[in-house]
Structures are given as C-alpha cells and as structure tokens.
C-alpha cells in the first residue's frame, strides 16, 4: 500500500470489522466503504444489514455476491403511487429473483423485510425452507400470496420471532394457517395480522399466544370478537403493542368489567390500535391504560368527537396519534393541550368523496396542534380548506418539522379567505423548516412555490406533487435545486420534456421519479434513455395503443417511471410497460 492509506494496513481486517460494527447507519457504512479499497472490501464483506430502496436498482445475484455476510435485508418494490392504484397491478416488483438469489447466497439470513413487492406462495415456501435461522418476516403493503404460504412459514421457521403483514393483501386459501405453528414453537415476539380479511380462529391463536411467553406485539384482525380479546390479554399480560379486533359487542356489563381488568393487567401496554367498528359502550375500557400510551392508532375508529376526546385527553404521554377527521378542530385543540409530547400526527378523511355531511375539521385544528405540541415534527393532514395565514403560522410555530404532508381534498383549492394560491404558505414551510425531509403539496399552486422549494428545501428527500404548477419552470426549479432529493412523484401537472432533459444528470442522483398525467412526450423519453444509460426510463401506457416502438416522438406519455440502476433494463416488464 502506497502513501496516505498505509495506516489502513497496520491493523488486521478483523479490527476494522469490529470498528465498523459500531457504524449503525447505512449512510455511515457507505461512507466508510468509499475511503479506500481495503475498507471497501472489509466493509462490504462484513456488512450485516442491507437496504435496497428499489428492487430493480441492482441485480439480486450481484447484491448477494457483494455482501456475503448479510443477515438482514430490506427490499422495496413498487413506486409509492401504487398505493393509490396508479400503477398497473402487473407492473412488477416480484420477489422471486431476490428470494432465489438469497436462498443461494445467504443461507444464514435472519430478517427479510419487503415493501410493495409481489411475493408469491412459492417465495414464502422457499423462504421457509432455505434459512435455518430465520427470525423476522415483514411484508408491508405486499400482495401475491395467500395464507397457504403463511402456513409454510409457520410450519418451518422454528425460530420465527416476527411475522408482520401490515397493509398487505392476502388471499385466504388455507383456513387455519395459524395451526401450522408446531406445538414446540414458542419464539414469537411480534405478530401483525390486522390486514387479514377472513376469519382467524381465536382458539388456535390463544393456544399459540399462551406458549409464546415473549410475545410483545399482537395486532389482530377485525374478525376477532371482543370476548376472545379478553382471553388473549389474560394470556399475554406482558404485551406492549396491541391491535384489537372488533371493538363492539352486545351490551354486557360482565364482559365490560372483564375486558377492563384484562386491559389493566397489561401494565406494559404502550401502543394501541385496531378498534374496528367500535362500540361506545366498550371504549371506556381502555381509559385506565391511556396514561402509559405512546402510540394510539384510531384511524379505523369511526367514533365521533366526544368519545375520541375522552380517550385522547387521557393520553398524556402520547408520541404518535393516528385519527380520522371525526376528531374535528375542537378535538385537536384538546390534543394540543393534553398531549404535550406529541411528535407525529396523522389525520385521515372519514368520507373522502361525499362532502354531504361535512366534518368540522379545518386548518384551525392543524394550527392548534402546531402551537401546543412543541415536539411535533411529522404531520399528515387531510382537510378541505386551508389558508396561507394558517400555513405561515404552522411554519413559525414548528420550524422543527421534518415531514409535512398536507392533502386538501379538492384539487386546485385556493386560500378560502384571500382566494390566492397557497404558494406563500408552503414557501413559508420550506423556508422555516430547515430540516424538512418529506413534503406533499396540495391546493392551488403556481410555479412560485417550486422556486421556493428548489431554493430552500436543502434536506428534502421526498416530494409529492399533484395538480400543481403552471409549466415547465416548476419542475425545473425542483430538479435544479433540492440538493438531497431522492424521490419525486408527480401527477397531473403541466410539466413537459424540457426540464427533464435539461436536468437529466440530476435524475441519476435520485432513487426514482414518477410522472403521470403530465406533458411528457415519448421523444423526450427516448432522448433521455439514450443519454443516460444508467437510468431505466419506463413508459406505462395502459390504453393499449399498440407497441410503443412504433409510436412517434410526439406521442404523449401517460405514466413515466425513471430510476437509476446498475442492473440495466429489467426483463420482467408486462405488456403495458416499456423500457425505452
């Protein structure tokens, strides 16, 4: 070794490996790997955790070969807008290639986390058989599998600690998959089956929970009745995270008191969710543990304001609150005065389409919480009206915001007081909140807001834009600014070819760009693809106009997904997707 890095050779590899083991963040490990060849080799050969934000950015076999000692992997597939049905269901994101490569090269894999991937039962079967020490399976927003696949996991993963199916779509083919956990199986710590639509056999579940003395997280689905919840809680008083099943039953004072005492018995309960079809008579059963709660998810709880306030105002230690807009402004005022430690707030629309029975949730609720909760840094807020003044106030109150997602339900909504666009409001947010990492815009917006964002949002990593902007300048401001932008998703904006072509190099610094219903033409995509070989430019046309290769340059592109990759064009595109 010559020159400056001679010191690196002074210590044997194991020493550096040990040093690197203290680097917990991927970013730090990536940085260390860039220092010199030696460190690069040592780091990647000792890396235990790998994060692949886009499953198509690298070939699975390559990833497995580069990092031979990986024990935990996170792989993400479809673009975020797939959550809202904007991505065709056969677009891709299949997990087979990854699972096959991992089965081959990572036999000691312990943790696998997929998000927005299509995972087949065959994949689950392969996972179940390939990894002797498998501990964690997390399938978030995934689909393509059934309870038969889950049965295979249950039957074969002897050391399974966590099974998480959050927000996945699961076919119910095997009725009692839970019974496939063998009798000697006792290692379960976390089980999240809230997404399952079918019946879950509560007795079998109870037996499983009884023998898993380390169970900490249990999130049931809506089919588990209140009576059975009591039994489960009695068998698992050490629970920290509970997702209830159906939270209503016939009026029965005995059941109520049994439920109440079972809940009181769970002294470690910190997180509560579920509350499907809640009945007013039983909600008070949770009052006793409210004080200890740090996380409360009521976003399925179709309960009116007074009941919501009664629960939430008791939660003095709440850090995270998810609720529907039924809480209304007055409820949020109560939150602002009771939950002083609140860090994250998400307010969802109870009736997103029919404004016939309007709910009294306006910008005032948001302002109240921004004023009363000094640690609030993450907001997701659905509402029907907004003013620039309110946004300015929020910006002034909460310069510590890191995530601000505002969705005004009607596109192009103006400031209802001044009738102006909401440019000044959102500009104030990005200028004041210097650490903002995620932003979603809505309402009537011109190119001016993009100018502010491009100039001020220096740490912004993810930006979502819909029905906004006047023309190409808007997109140009973003692509030529926002130094740390990773993910950009745009729909229904008048952005065309020029800003894309002028900022082509920017696209290689980002993970991905999604544009749908904008003004991009096929010609620009072709140019972009020719100039940037390390980008995959995927055009999605679902209206079946015939092969895209035959279309002229001025053919408008319906949906466009561009992402950087070292794997080249993918081989599993369906008919409606064309890699330019």
């Amino acid at each position: 070794m010559v020159g400056r890095f001679r010191w690196a050779a002074m210590f044997p590899d194991e020493v550096w490996e040990h040093v690197f083991s203290f680097l917990t963040s991927d970013g730090d490990r990536n940085a260390a790997a860039l220092v010199c060849r030696n460190w690069n080799r040592i780091e990647r050969r000792s890396r235990k955790r790998v994060f692949v934000g886009n499953c198509y950015s690298v070939a699975p076999t390559v990833a497995v070969r580069l990092f031979p000692e990986v024990r935990a992997a996170v792989i993400k597939g479809k673009p975020h807008f797939a959550d809202f049905n904007l991505v065709p269901s056969d677009w891709g994101g299949g997990a087979e290639a990854w699972v096959e490569a991992m089965a081959e090269g990572w036999p000691n894999l312990e943790e696998l986390r997929f998000k927005r991937m299509v995972v087949s039962d065959d994949c689950l079967d392969l996972i179940a058989r390939s990894f002797k020490n498998f501990k964690v399976l997390s399938l978030v927003s995934c689909d393509g599998f059934s309870t038969s696949g889950l049965a295979a996991i249950a039957a074969n993963c002897r050391h399974l600690r966590e099974l998480n199916l959050r927000e996945s779509e699961v076919e119910e083919t095997c009725l009692n998959w839970i019974s496939h956990f063998p009798e000697p199986f006792t290692s379960l710590v976390a089980l999240d089956i809230a997404c399952l639509e079918g019946e879950v056999n509560a007795s079998i579940l109870e037996r499983l929970i009884s023998r898993c003395s380390n169970i900490m997280t249990l999130r049931l689905n809506h089919s588990v009745p209140l009576e059975r919840l009591v039994g489960l809680l009695q068998r698992a008083p050490q629970l920290m995270d509970l997702g209830t099943g159906k939270f209503s039953a016939r009026h029965n004072p005995q059941l109520f008191s049994r439920l109440e005492s079972a809940i009181v018995g769970c002294k470690n309960l910190r997180s509560l969710s579920g509350f499907w079809e809640p009945g007013l008579t039983y909600l008070p059963a949770v009052y006793s543990i409210c004080e200890g709660l740090t996380s409360l998810n009521l976003n399925y709880a179709t309960v009116q304001n007074p009941e919501l306030v009664k629960i939430i105002s008791r939660c003095k230690n709440l850090r995270r609150l998810l609720v529907m807009d039924l809480i209304e402004d007055s409820g949020l005022v109560a939150v602002a005065s009771s939950c002083k430690l609140l860090q994250e707030l998400r307010v969802f629309p109870s009736d997103p389409y029919d404004a016939a029975e309007p709910v009294s949730l306006t910008e005032h609720g948001l302002v109240a919480v921004s004023a009363g909760c000094p640690m609030l840094h993450s907001v997701l807020y659905f509402c029907r009206q907004m003013t620039n003044a309110a946004l300015l106030t929020v910006a002034k109150n909460r310069p510590n915001l890191t995530c601000f997602r505002l969705c005004i339900i009607e596109p192009h909504t103006r400031d209802y007081v001044t009738q102006e666009p909401l440019d000044t409001g959102f500009s104030a947010i990005v200028e004041s909140c210097k650490d903002l990492r995620r932003l979603s815009l809505s309402g009537l917006l011109t190119d001016l807001v993009f100018k502010s964002i491009g100039a001020s949002a220096n740490y912004l990593e993810m930006l979502s834009i819909a029905f906004a902007g006047d023309g190409d300048m808007g997109l140009h401001y973003i692509l030529s600014g926002c130094k740390n932008l990773r993910k950009l998703e745009i729909r229904d904006c008048p952005f065309g070819d020029k800003p894309l072509l002028q900022n082509a190099s920017k696209l290689e610094t980002m993970r991905s760009l999604w544009m749908s219903s904008c003004s991009v033409t096929l010609g620009a995509c072709r140019q972009l693809a020719r100039a940037m070989p390390r980008l995959n430019v995927e055009v999605i046309n679902e209206s079946g106009r015939g092969p895209l290769a035959a279309q002229p340059d001025n053919c408008p592109v319906e949906k466009l997904y561009i992402y950087r990759t070292i794997a080249g064009p993918r081989t599993d595109t369906p008919q409606c997707v064309w890699t330019v």
Partner: protein
C-alpha cells in the same frame, strides 16, 4: 405542428450536449459556495414590477459552454426580458384557469424558434384547455379522479359504512344489517379468473348493471387470456377463442361463469339477485370455468364440514 417538431429535433442534440459528460455525483458535503449559488439563482420579475421586487440578475445561457468543473452546475435560463414575456403569457390566463400553461422555454439557443414555440404554446393551451375543462369540471364536481385523494383502497369502503354504523352502535345494537356499502364514488372489488395468475379490480358503481359488468370482465381479462392462449399459431383463431370465452358469463352456458363471494362468505352465482342487492353484499368476484361449477358445491360442503369441526368442539357460536 410538424415544423415545430423538426426544429425541436434540431435543437435537442444541442440540448443533449449540455448534459455533462463527467460523472455527476451530487456532493452532499460542500457543493457550490454561496457566491456561485447567488449567481445561478433564478429570479423572475413580473412586467411593471408587480409582485416580488427582486434583484434582476441577468443570467446568460452562455453558462452552458462553461460547464466544466463543478459537476452540480445548474442549467440556467434566459434573460430578464424573456422572462417578462413568460409572465405575460401566464397572466393572460390568470391563475389556474387555463391549464396547463406551456411556458416558453427561454434559452438563447431557442431564439429562432421562440415565435414558433409561442404559437405552439398558445395553440396547445387552447387545445388542452378544451380537453382539460372536462378534467377540471370533473374534479370540481367532486367526481372521483383515479387515485385521488391519496388514500389506500380499504379506506374508500370504510368511509361509506362509517357514520351510519356509529349511530346504530350507540343504541348498543350491533345489528349487521346496517352495513351499507352505498359508496357512490367507486366500489372496487377484486376479481380473479381461473388459470390467470394476475388479479384485477372492477368498479361496480361504474358498471351499474350486470350486462356492463360482463363487458368489464371481458375488458379486464381479454388480453391476459390471449397471452395464455399463445400456443395457437393462428392469431385470428386465438382472438376468436379468447373472445368466445367471455360469452354467456352470466347464464352458465358459456365456457366461463361469473361467481361472487358475499359478505357471509358464501359463493353465489352472479345474476340471481337484483343489482343493488348484489352490490351491497358482494365482497369479491371470480370467473370460474363452467366445468368446475359442480366441484364448487363440493368445496362448499367441505368448508361447512371443516367449520363445524372447529367450532363444534369449542361450543362457540359465531
């Protein structure tokens, strides 16, 4: 229109030359220093000084040729004059009434084409305004736009049953009859077809009748079925075969039959009950091979048996 495209074609190679050849890696640490950033900052001034009063910095597009050292050099736009033109174009339409605006991209390179482009932009704005008023009226009329508002699919169905249920529950009566799926704005139901691994979703409210549902099923699965039948060398025959498959979905006489699973978990033939009743109870759909219908009954019987075995022992009546 054609002229414009040719000239755009000429211009574009020049554009591509602007894409820096050197490896572009955004430097997280460092990057442009303050002075350079100020120079490159875009400023726009409205004609007549209306609006923001900003220091007009004239940015030369000659910066294109100076792209050398700093890899994160921003591409910049034309001069103040041209920008004023930009705003004139916009302010004619006012905020948000004409959508989308095609702004003229003001670079010196495009000088010759500017007049051409302005024409095109106006023309486009008019055309697109025409085709887009329908979009805007739809949006302002509150008709559901695909994927908007950005909420997950399950939340759409949740919303419809929400308020009515909570009223009922206040009486302590959990009568399930109240579950109303009267979501007017799009009821998406999953539908699978035998032999086709990919499932789809169909919007029942958009259908409105059994006949339209039948057409929708054909529309959703025709291509997929054709792809499956690719063994046939004769394209025409393949098409014919595929189309034939969807005839008589509802009366049981065709190659396939449409069945559904209702809110009690039972499988039923589609078409037996009035449309509204069907919509309020359907949970998912399936296109079965008609030959499998008899085995459907066997499946039903087996399921019943299984359930009784599980629950019989517990004394649980669910």
């Amino acid at each position: 229109m054609e002229d414009d495209h040719e000239s755009m074609g000429d211009a574009c190679p020049q554009l591509l030359n602007l894409i820096p050849n050197e490896k572009v890696r955004e430097k997280r640490i460092g990057g442009l220093d303050a002075a350079e950033e100020k120079k490159l900052e875009l400023t726009l001034g409205l004609p007549g000084g209306v609006g923001e009063e900003e220091e007009p910095s004239v940015l030369s597009s000659c910066i294109f040729s100076k792209v050398s050292k700093t890899s994160s050099r921003r591409v910049v736009l034309g001069s103040e004059q041209q920008e004023a033109g930009l705003f004139q174009l916009q302010s004619r339409g006012g905020y948000g009434t004409e959508w989308p605006h095609k702004t003229t991209w003001n670079c010196e390179i495009f000088d010759e084409q500017q007049s051409l482009e302005k024409e095109k932009a106006l023309g486009d704005t008019e055309n697109e305004a025409g085709s887009n008023t329908s979009f805007q009226t739809r949006a302002s009329a509150g008709v559901a736009v695909v994927g908007w508002p950005p909420i997950r699919a399950f939340r759409k169905n949740l919303a419809s049953s929400s308020v009515k249920q909570s009223v009922e529950l206040q009486n302590g009566n959990i009568d399930e009859k109240v579950k109303v799926a009267s979501c007017k704005k799009g009821l998406l139901i999953k539908i699978n077809m035998d032999g086709i691994p990919i499932g789809r979703k169909v919007d029942l409210n958009a259908c409105g009748s059994y006949k339209k549902l039948s057409f929708a099923v054909e529309y959703l699965f025709l291509d997929l079925l054709r792809a499956q039948k690719e063994t046939s060398t004769n394209d025409l025959r393949m098409d014919e075969e595929a189309k034939q498959a969807f005839k008589s979905l509802l009366d049981g006489s065709g190659e396939y039959t449409l069945v559904y699973e209702d809110n009690e978990g039972d499988r039923m033939l589609v078409g037996d009950v009035p449309w509204d009743m069907f919509v309020s109870s359907v949970k998912r759909l399936r296109v079965l091979k008609s030959s499998d219908l008899s085995s459907l009954h066997d499946w039903e019987a087996r399921k019943e048996q299984q359930l009784s075995v599980e629950y019989g022992g517990e004394g649980l009546a669910n």
